[in-house]
Amino acid sequence: MPPQVGSRRSLIVSLVLTVAIAFGSLAATLSLGWGPKLGLDLAGGLSVVYKPTTHATTSDMQEVVTILTNRVDGLGVSGATVNLQGKDVVVSVPGVKDARAVLQAVGQTAQLLFRPVLCEAGVGAKLTAATTLPSCAPQYQDTAANLNVNTSTGNPVNIAPDPAFTNIASTKPAKDLPAETVLLPLLGQPGVRYVLGPSQMTGHSIKKALAQQDQAGAWVVNYTLTGTGSPLWDQVAQKNFHQLLAIELDGVVQSAPLIQPNQASFTSFAGQGQISGSFTQQSAQTLALAMNFGALPVRLQALTTQTVSPTLGHSSLVAGLGAGLAGLALVLLYTIVYYRALGLVIVLGLAVTASLLWAIISALGHTAFAPSFDLAGVTGLIVSIGITVDSYIVYFERLKDEARAGRSVRSSVDRGFRSAWRTVLAADTVSLLAAVLLYIIAVGDVKGFAFFLGLSTLMDVLITWYFTRPLVILLGRRGSSSTSKLSMAAGLHAGAQSE
């Protein structure tokens, strides 16, 4: 007889391999200390969905994703994700303690602008808004001639603030447009404001900025420019050579460095530059962060904002796991009472399935691809308990049918499996179809749910073929003559036999 799929040897190999792979991968996962990537509603954290307020192309939105990713990464939180779903950007930062602080930093939707400093202004006691700003008086203008930079010390001539601006209020956010001349405060120095000309460059051109210490140990901000940004920066820098160029973010001047004060004439930056001065570590990092924020190609509007406190998330996790385990225990109890020895097959089968699922979910948690494990995913898994156990029920009810027809357990297990397998395949196909379609079309939580439902359905098909089939067939061949209470016949206990 040629070797068959159903030969004793191949059945044993399949069974042993499946069990070894399942428990082996679980052990490996546990020993590596991997766990599932918990979603926002379980770990606590922040989630925001932004929508562009004006028409935006897909490449615009992809740029938004890159910039927002930089912003989130710059905050030093781990596990944050920024995804594009259709034209919406979903920012999700799980596990942060003070979600509101993160929200404020990420939520800044303003543009980063580079404006020339026209003159400095003081802050008077009584400020009134002005519809149009006056021009800076010639003697107060921060022109290259007035500043007259000393290239050996790098210091300019000190120019006093223009008193004409002292009692004018700073430009309101609504009027703070790139093409306007504006009056804005300097970050961290309450008494200093600048009158700034129209924007000459946006944060678009900055590729990356980093706060670092130079050889002398002083804090500086090093930055690189994008391919198209580099020539533009050279142009802007040349135009403002030996003058102050303000970096504005969200209506506040982050810094107003002097361009190449130690050089007699302008030289190309060749794609990178350094901002130095009296930085502390904190102020350097703040500036680098601001420069990384980049300029968004479109304005964003928050569609929905959600913060979940870690305690609430934790209590959901406990509740979800508790409910899942309690449900599982009830199901197992029921199947053992109903199917006796065969019920133990279900218990073992679920243990194998659960080990594999946990290992896969944990491993996926280490890739960027998999959705994080949230309550919707927990629900998907809890629902899949039903689908997984159902495959056993379909098979065992077929076995009972076969036994009722007077067939021996030994032949029933083969025949019963063949008809049950077709049913399981047909039913799981429908379930998988639902999961795949939902995953492709739906948004948000539904995606995670569909992913875990699909994963566990796929697992059901594999386990039914590679685990349940060999185990039950082997048990059936062995136990057909056994009369013990735990034998297969006791679990089947069909009507036809008990007459």
């Binding site: 007889m1 799929v5 606590g44 919406d88 003070d98 509101r100 928050a302 569609l303 929905t304 904002t305 959600q306 406190s309 305690t311 609430l312 209590s315 959901s316 406990v318 509740a319 409910a323 899942g324 449900g327 199901v331 309550l375 629900t379 629902v383 308990i385 039903g386 689908i387 156990v389 159902d390 029920i393 379909v394 009810e397 009972k400 049918d401 027809a405 021996s408 030994r410 032949s411 083969d414 025949r415 008809s419 077709r422 047909a426 196909t429 429908v430 179809l433 999961a435 379609l437 939902l438 079309i441 948004v443 948000g444 939580d445 539904v446 749910f449 439902l453 206990h493 069909a494 009507g495």
Partner: protein
């Protein structure tokens, strides 16, 4: 097949109780014949639901109509305390609810206010709730939803639903047959209407989680129906040849054969959901779980009911109108020696007839030699 195949020993139904008969495959429930009862029950529930929908509409969560909500775990306070605290913080008409045993949820609509005012009030409410609960402000969960967000989720879900319906009807039409696809589709729509109706009647809040749960239910209902139809197809493959059962009787037999499985499966599916609902949501106060659990519970019950009482009787009713099954019914109807088959007796009969009438789906040879032959059979 000869007329004298009913030679198996008659089974004494009195031996077993209701559960015993189910366990031993001795049930003879006439699912198809009593379809008017089942259909009426469903139509009454659905009409009530639609009526309630027309009059009261849905209790939509803030995700659909826009608004803000705050949640905090606070074991030692009261709704009155919480309400006065958030009102002082600037909420005009807050809706304060206690979820589970210790979670307080405050909802209000701030979308008419300016964004800076929204931010101020949101912060004040967070601080007020934290103070009332005696925790730090970081322990308060918040959610702000713009007015357009919910519509987007719903549209996507509807889109998914329609594509899913089309794909499912196509799959069942190919794998089984078009009439089964129609019956399964009707059962799915039935479950959708029942769940939605129950939500409206009892005023349960609709959240995006509910939408997910409803999608699950539809998938599950269909899964259940497919298992039953798989058996119907098995049994009816030889129906014209066999000639001693009408299509309806075949469906009835299939239903009774899969009844134990249907009930087991439904129990196994509902037990974890019940655990979610009672343990997760009520005892431990996980509100999202409650949203899922409720919809799943209603839907799974409806799904189990519709596979047995709607899909199959509907299928039998449609098939009986086909000329060949009309003929069959007329031929079979004149015979007097027929007896109702139970799952158990059908299995015996099938084993006996298979010796002379080899049908690929159900026979492997005569029962006397099956042991020896089964081992040689290639599984695939």
């Amino acid at each position: 097949m000869s007329n004298d195949t009913d030679t198996f020993a008659p089974i004494d139904d009195k031996t077993y109780g209701r559960f015993g008969r189910l366990y031993h495959g001795l049930t003879t429930v006439d699912f198809v014949g009593r379809r008017k009862i089942w259909f009426t029950v469903s139509i009454v529930i659905i009409v009530l639901g639609i009526g309630s929908l027309a009059i009261r509409g849905f209790n939509l969560g803030i995700d659909f109509k826009g608004g803000s909500s705050w949640e905090v775990l606070a074991p030692h306070t009261s709704i009155a305390n919480m309400t006065s605290a958030v009102e002082k913080a600037g909420l005009a008409h807050p809706n304060v609810e206690k979820l589970g045993s210790k979670t307080y949820q405050v909802t209000a609509d701030l979308n008419t206010l300016s964004s800076s005012r929204q931010a101020t009030i949101t912060n004040d409410v967070v601080n007020a709730m934290a103070k009332t609960a005696g925790v730090s402000p970081t322990q308060v969960s918040t959610s702000n939803v713009g007015p357009t967000w919910g519509g987007q989720i719903t549209n996507k879900a509807l889109e998914a639903l329609i594509v899913f319906f089309i794909a499912v009807v196509a799959y069942i039409s190919i794998r089984f047959e078009p009439k089964m696809a129609v019956a399964a589709f009707v059962a799915m729509v039935h479950d959708l209407l029942v769940t939605v109706g129950v939500y409206s009647i009892f005023g349960f809040q609709i959240t995006p989680d509910t939408v997910i749960a409803i999608l699950t239910i539809l998938g599950y209902s269909l899964y259940d129906t497919v298992v039953v139809f798989d058996r119907v197809r098995d049994n009816t493959q030889g129906v014209l040849k066999g000639g001693d059962l009408t299509y309806s009787e075949m469906v009835n037999l299939s239903m009774n054969q899969t009844l134990a499985r249907s009930i087991n499966t439904s129990l196994v599916a509902i037990l974890p959901v019940l655990a979610v609902l009672l343990i997760g949501a009520d005892l431990l106060g996980a509100t999202t779980l409650q949203n899922y659990g409720l919809a799943l519970f209603v839907g799974l019950m409806s799904g189990a009911y519709s596979s047995i009482f709607i899909a199959s009787p509907l299928l039998a009713w449609m098939k009986e109108r086909e000329p060949r099954y009309l003929d069959l019914a007329a031929r079979v109807g004149v015979r007097t020696d027929r007896r109702i088959l139970t799952a158990s007796s059908a299995a015996l009969q099938s084993a006996q007839t298979s010796a002379t009438n080899a049908r690929p789906a159900r026979s492997g040879g005569a029962s006397g030699t099956i042991q020896a032959r089964a081992r040689k059979q290639k599984r695939r």
